[in-house]
Homo-oligomer: 387 residues x 4
């Protein structure tokens, strides 16, 4: 269990970080929702605040007065068991509450939590909920960055978010193949540090002999796939991937622009020329799979990745794995509304491992199980080959 001091530090740093991320925005940028799964930044700011109000202050502080009884309605998201909610596709239609209101709401709740922490004996259970709240907000910080990128990167004016944001670390070392011996291995979260429920349950798993690359696929390599007709060869694709690609007229990763024959990519620091030695970015699982097929190789499973990961660098891109998102042995959904969190998404999603340049500090760990539908590409996603 965290000390009060550590908990306060975690909480205040987390709260400040969300606001720092948004400090580069215009008021208008907080409001729009160009796709169903891209939420308006003000919604992220409000929703992470609502979480603390709903699960900490309302439940544990009997003196607490709600900032505004309508807020829950607007900022609840997937917690279907806690009251009515705003349909996800409607979030971008809500001009009110305003951005200024959301910041006032944040301040009110942040202060209320700090006051509460300083005046109350914090139980282990409550400490756990506060930690979840902070990590929940850290997760939304990554979504803030990817949603902001989507909002600005699909605006015809291609505005810069922050000139200093560096998302393309150059990796100019040679790739090597790590060989892992077959046998029984253990995976799952082991320490007492924070983790989500879906990582719990250390358990044995049997791995066959396999090899995994020490390096992510680069833009240069991915471009070869494109130029070799990879997007036109049906045999490289899943049936569903092929339909997705055709329906959406996909011919390159998201944010790639061919300007007069030269490939560029939109980044949070603006439109730049494609950097050949940077890891490929913003591809769907379908594309990652097709690329691996084209190489005659495959994606690693999440267990393979977890066992091998000590021996290579990771952390600039989320890495698609071949594993479907399923419960670990012994996984139990927690009781009550917080139990809605992870289990309900365990179908039709693929696991991604690692973390990315957009992941918040202290939010990355080698047992983290990220997951998205196989067609989604607005996260910082890439691939590592296995065979």
């Amino acid at each position: 269990m965290l000390s009060l001091q550590d908990l306060l530090l975690l909480f205040t740093e987390t709260r400040a970080q969300s606001e720092l991320i948004c400090s580069f925005l215009e008021v208008e940028d907080y409001v729009v929702q160009p796709r169903e799964n891209v939420s308006p930044p003000k919604w992220h700011l409000g929703h992470t605040t609502w979480f603390f109000e709903e699960f900490v202050l309302k439940d544990h502080n009997k003196d607490y007065e709600l900032y505004d009884k309508n807020s829950a309605y607007v900022f609840n998201s997937y917690y279907e068991s806690v009251g009515e909610k705003v349909v996800r596709t409607d979030r971008g239609n809500l001009s009110r509450p305003t951005v200024a209101w959301v910041y006032a709401y944040r301040n009110y709740v942040t202060k209320a939590i700090i006051d509460f922490l300083e005046q109350t004996e914090i139980s282990k259970e409550l400490c756990g909920i506060l930690e979840i709240g902070c990590h929940h907000e850290k997760q939304h910080q990554e979504l803030l960055l990817t949603d902001i990128k989507f909002i600005l990167g699909n605006n015809p004016l291609l505005p810069v978010y922050n000139k200093q944001f560096e998302e393309n670390p150059i990796e100019d070392f040679e790739a090597e193949w790590l060989k892992i011996e077959e046998g029984v291995y253990e995976i799952g979260h082991q320490s007492t540090d924070f983790c989500y429920d879906n990582e719990l349950g250390v358990h044995k798993t049997y791995l066959q002999n396999f090899e995994i690359s020490t390096k992510l696929v680069t833009n240069r390599e991915y471009l070869e796939f494109i130029e070799d007709g990879g997007y036109e060869d049906v045999l490289l694709w899943h049936a569903e991937g092929w339909d997705w690609k055709n329906t959406n007229n996909i011919k390159a990763p998201l944010y790639w622009h061919n300007v007069n024959g030269d490939w560029h990519q939109y980044t949070l620091s603006g439109l730049i020329r494609l950097i050949p030695d940077a890891p490929v970015n913003h591809i769907s699982y379908f594309e990652a799979f097709a690329y691996a097929q084209w190489k005659g190789m495959r994606l690693p499973t999440e267990a393979e990745w977890e066992i091998a990961q000590k021996q290579f660098n990771w952390g600039t891109r989320w890495e698609w794995t071949e594993s479907a998102y399923s419960p670990y042995p012994g996984f139990k959904t927690a009781e009550g509304a917080l139990g809605e969190y992870n289990g309900k998404f365990m179908v039709n999603q693929k696991v991604l491992r690692g973390s990315s340049v957009a992941t918040s500090e202290k939010h990355a760990r080698h047992t983290y199980r990220n997951f998205f539908q196989p067609e989604l590409r607005w996260q910082f996603t890439s691939l590592r080959l296995a065979k």
Copy 2:
């Protein structure tokens, strides 16, 4: 042809009025687009400005420098013949250009037009285009109000736009039936004042004997229709109207809310109790038609309305007519981009006559032909019975 002084007055008053309408908004309210046919207020402000830049300054002032060459792309609308445009459903996804940018753009163009007017000999043609530009902006002023109402009126917080806005004049006089004799009548715009091309061509038309009410249908009367099961009686509805009603689960006019058994309606001054003696508001043509069927009567045609209108008061609500929107005899589309204006909508729309509490000053006239798809209700629409 207007004098320079009148033209300047028309122009400056019109420009100021759009900004006055928006002065009650928060920045966030300018951005959203909750339905395809409801545009973000900042788009209206930019688009009406683009019109003057594109058709006056760019074409007629060789010294003019564009404020920003990307603006046309963002603010062009239905003028398909003038460059690329932003797809209508994407308008609400554009956080940039910002509201501040749009106001700067407005100021730049407004000033450029005034300078140009004061320094140039204005031809009759150019004067005509400027007049169209002003009336085009006046038309968007009404859309601004109705779109703002839709944006705020569909927000779960139901925010007030302007406490002073009065949209429900009480009409407590008795309705009478005007009798009009059959014969040949003339309709169409006759004076030298401004009008749109679709009103032109004064022409004879033959009317049968008919009677028309001196009063719009009231909320009280419409409520009787609802309570008598009007929304559930298939024989009162067009086949297409019945499908529309069922698909959208329509059971009352737009903005009606049943709060604990009492009917309320959202207005630009907030949520109020339904006013029984005010004219019914925000109904579709389909609903107007079903109401008239239920009464054993009908809607007037636009010719009947135009001939009879001198003998009753109008101007608080747009009035659905039975007439489909079609060209008057001899109607010719104007040459070039401005010619796209009216003719291209002359299919699958119904004519509305009169004007409403949201219509801009000097924009109402008895020959005005407004038109919308029969299912739309976000304008201030009502009905007057004929038989």
Copy 3:
């Protein structure tokens, strides 16, 4: 009122004709529904039979025993006021009742009607319903032919329906312009012969001076429009027509196939080379309008067509008019289920005048008001220019 003999003749001839039309089909052809508005032939055979059972036998012959109480459910169509019905898009999913069952049902009802006519005193009202039933079935005979054409003409094997069916009469005379003087004219059905309720109400209308062509637009002329880029010039099209054309990738009339550079068209007698001197066929209102715009002319109104039609030949193609389908002055919906027939479609449809090579004998008359949505093309439709 028809004599018993004439009524029997009308009835028996009509019933036989529907079966003759279907005699060229395979069993499988009776079943499919490739588009929502194209019904399976067995549905037409059953529905026209159901009409006589429902409105004549069930209502007027107390000794009548229903052939099968489920039949009404399956073969009811738009008569929403008479019991449940099969949703239109589901008709093509119903393999039962079988074709053999439908023919047995037809025979049973046909015989029951004949027996009933021969044994009963037929009232004027009943005679009217029987006449409507026959004309209703004649109308479905044309739909049978156009639906069969759609079913076979969209099959990749392009099977022949009937080698003898002639749908392209060559018209090699020179077109002339008829001039009609402005003034008050009368239109509407005048004789005591059968007509639909939408034609009733002879009434005066005022026409301006106009000219109308004595000849339909030919394939040769329409091809010039295509080759001149008519399908790519936005200024020729309604906004809604332009969207329809783009969404559906329309570049020529329905059933045109460009085979190695030569235009062919599918006909009920198979795929043939395009006949330059035949009237253009299977175009939408949107295309007819765009063609007229391209010529600098227009489509006639239905009143113009009715007044001028004595002076030209018509009958090979339905002719799109500029008129929206609206009630004539004094139009009243009939009481009860039969009243659903025409009025409920009086919105968002365009009137077509004349008749076609697919129209049943004795079903064409100069006051007939056919109507369809402006995008539909599977009827035998063409255009005649006016100015």
Copy 4:
């Protein structure tokens, strides 16, 4: 490798079985396609025939003359690499080729294969393709039954397919819990008998301690779940399952009908009262999962099922597992068009194990990996609990 005699027997029995299944149909039943994933029976008959023509006769018998060069176009399905194909949703719109044509095509190809087998030295590779062809057709035999059930079971007349078809074996023994010890196990196809490529690659896997029921969940038990509000408790469902259920208004398994308060179910032998002791049938993975959540248990993984299956009876229902359909270690897509077969579906599908009353003889085996999207229910699907 099979002997010639065994191969001939396998082939002729398989071909005859498909026709036996269809012998209970009316011609009309062969034609319709009520849902995208339910193919017309004549398509199954033609497609399985096309497989032999395309991959055996065309490729290996140079004297073979195609029955009709258009057939490939119509009966190709998912083999995107082999020529054009008919879009899946259009299959039900094709009245031609006729059923009679399809039977003639079958006879021609069946005879050509037999002649070819009797006159040629069959290589091991060709023998393999023929075996695949037979098992491919056996797989379509199950689809024929489930598609026929869907076609007739969604017809408002609920026609009987075959009075003798028994799909509800009563299981009146007590369920027991088998306990399996944790450890390394081997799964995958081991014998030299036929199997699909997705079963290959015997490999070790680590299982934790688990228990699995010896009996499928019964209708009686499933009804308790319904009556306890299982379909209304959001916490039991995946997010995607909850949406699916609400969008489609699902409140019970497919083919259940509540007739005056009594539950019935449509079966291939007609509508019957629900049999409490029969295993529940026609449920989606989402429903199976929700049921297991409600019991506080879970579905087995496919590896658990395969290891435990010797100790319980199976074969009346396909059993949903928790396992997503993924490649076994070392899985390689075969070269060429046949390689499209299985791998391309390895995303967003769940594995089902066992077999059903509709599975063809000799087509069931304990390593068989069936797979479907989690929302599909038209197969004979059920669930077995694990914990």
